[in-house]
Symmetry: C2
Subunit: 388 residues, 2 copies
């Protein structure tokens, strides 16, 4: 097991009706920037519920709506401008990961004199930030309990992750009932995103991070069990609750501390979203089994790791590692594409040719150390091609 520092200070209020805890925002001052997306929180009633609680707590609210699914730097700049203009004390995100990610970089940019994009390109420039709070409406990115944010500048086909301990939300409300109305497409994409977060550290070369491996299997088993239930019964509370709590733990440091943090599939997917603005979780679902097959072909000694995954998560009984590994990848494909109904090929999400693959691979390779089986640019192009 590797050395690590683990610190997850977010106060999580989990369950039905926990929105009442929004009154705790008064601990951070009086002026709130309320950040949200396309307005679904107005239809659902959550907007009204939240703003009444904030008003009752004596908080003054300024709003920024219209955060995009792949949140854009232009929105972040506008948020930072509002913070400075209205002497904002804290940022409250009400939405999914995109909204929370935007809120984090807004919180940093509000305390920064230069352009907000600097904080995306260079996390060392994040020296201060307003406190961030969130009310989660989508189980997926884990942004409600982690230091990360991913922001796009589509004018340059750029999508980059940044992070800061200052971005970790101070408090997040996780009420699974807010995800009852999440579409099948977004439920499936969120599940694929959470699984991919687990995979990124579960497949590691570090020896002896056994507790982390078994915890990862615990999340994967839970996701595989409840994903299809949430699709079939959108208002099944336990299904939504388990998916939601998996999302937070998949990326808050519990699984990768002591193992390894050398993400590989995420950087490859970020280029798909940066160039084609596709749904992140769909891109991950398409790439994941292709990546598994590619690294297994490149380094057959990894069969043991994929076999262990298959046995623990899918109950595969096959004793031969190579055969168990192949079966594990088949079961992964069956889960993502048949049970969760996710697209299995890039052409299904509008990526029809390999025109940009070389440029995308070059950018992905910059972040894609992929220590489990290191990938070069040509590996990444091959993976994109195999996914077409």
């Amino acid at each position: 097991m590797n050395n690590f520092t683990f610190c997850v200070p977010t106060r999580i209020h989990f369950g039905k009706g926990q929105i009442s805890h929004l009154s705790e925002l008064a601990e951070s001052g009086s002026n709130v920037l309320l950040v949200y997306g396309g307005g679904s929180i107005k239809k659902s009633g959550l907007y009204d519920e939240a703003t009444v609680i904030l008003a009752d707590a004596g908080l003054h609210v300024v709003e920024l709506s219209g955060i995009e699914p792949n949140p854009r730097i232009e929105s972040v700049r506008e948020g930072a401008r509002l913070c400075k203009e209205h002497a904002i004390d804290m940022v409250l995100a009400v939405g999914g990961g995109s909204v929370i990610d935007a809120a984090k970089v807004i919180a940093g940019a509000a305390k920064y004199d230069g352009d907000a994009w600097d904080l995306v390109l260079d996390r060392t420039k994040i020296k201060a930030a307003l406190p961030v709070y969130s009310v989660l409406t989508l189980a997926a990115t884990g942004s409600e309990m982690d230091p990360f944010a991913v922001i796009s500048d589509l004018s340059k086909n750029e999508k980059w992750g940044t992070s800061s301990p200052l971005f970790v939300p101070k408090m997040s409300v996780l009420d699974p009932t807010y995800t009852f109305s999440v579409s099948k497409k977004q439920t499936a994409a969120g599940t694929a995103d959470m699984m991919s977060h687990v995979f990124e550290s579960y497949f590691t070369n570090v020896e002896g991070a056994t507790l982390q491996a078994h915890m990862s299997e615990a999340l994967l088993k839970t996701l595989v069990h409840y994903g299809p239930i949430a699709l079939a019964e959108p208002d099944n509370y336990d299904a939504r609750a388990n998916l939601m709590w998996c999302g937070s733990h998949a990326i808050n440091g519990l699984l990768d501390s002591g193992a390894e943090v050398a993400w590989c599939v995420h950087p490859m997917e970020h280029e798909l979203s940066a160039f084609y603005d596709i749904t992140h979780g769909e891109g991950l679902a398409i790439l994941t089994p292709v990546w598994m097959k590619h690294v297994l072909a490149k380094d057959p000694s990894k069969a043991a790791a994929f076999a262990e995954y298959g046995r623990a998560v899918f109950g595969i009984a096959e004793a031969n590692d190579a055969q168990a590994a192949a079966a594990a990848i088949e079961r992964t494909e069956d889960f993502l594409f048949n049970q969760m109904g996710l697209p299995s090929k890039l052409h299904e999400v509008g990526i029809e040719d390999e025109e940009n693959f070389a440029a995308m691979a070059k950018k992905a390779a910059a972040g894609c150390v992929g220590s489990f089986v290191p990938l070069e640019e040509n590996d990444i192009v091959e993976i994109y091609r195999a996914a077409l």
Copy 2:
């Protein structure tokens, strides 16, 4: 899944050499009360290492040594007196759970005008506390990352738990190499304690706390795997590291948030320690399988839960729940008594007759709601008798 609030703000520095982070104590002031036990940290060199780092960080140290394995209120009172006399800013525990527990209540008593025992009997009286830090030397209680403390007044045969969010350590150093010198007896007792912490919430009547159940199984599998390795190879780093990290997560809220917190075996064991001053983990090992058999006999519908445990943790293939449950209990006994070498009967730890059982059961029943299968005083007496 039940509603819950989850907040585990302790900053954990995990791994070899992380003691250097003791310099961070300067964030809380300049006067440190250093609390430790019987002096093993002097033999091991940890005392010298820690005091040099504290001195280099400009910290002034006052010492309280001699904390007992079942820490006593007299030591807590002395610690509180020292805090008041020397204007102490923070309390640093270097030791196992007993030392950390004592440090927590000292930290509270330092900010309390009445007698420290009040804070043990009534946690609502804990309104303030000095910051608590710890360097862990024994994988067992999880006190390094939780709000709990258990203190004894042996003059009254009283042993009670108390807790406060103010008691959660601000920072803990977890260096597995500090546990290389832990004896076989203490390694085994610590493992039994950690398993019992998991069992206390794993066996729950709450439906749908599935992620928590799978996480619990992850810890149990890790403990069952590495416990015997740590006995056979005391300086096996990965074994010690996994046991240590299991200890923290077994009781920091990860496993019981959303499930249930209605401990049962612990309150029964606390009376054994309070009346006979035995090793906590040994008492738990003796009681655990007896408790399992008792509740299964009382409510045979619980066979499904024990069967699930046996299948997940021990790989029991038996399809019939009653038979799988019986096998799971047998495997638990085999692990604790044969593989870990723990005592299996009370007479082995010096409890020869049932003289105090009625009095102990009466006190245990006060805290022992045991919601999985509720226990009455007569159940507890029967469990003690069966364990003789």
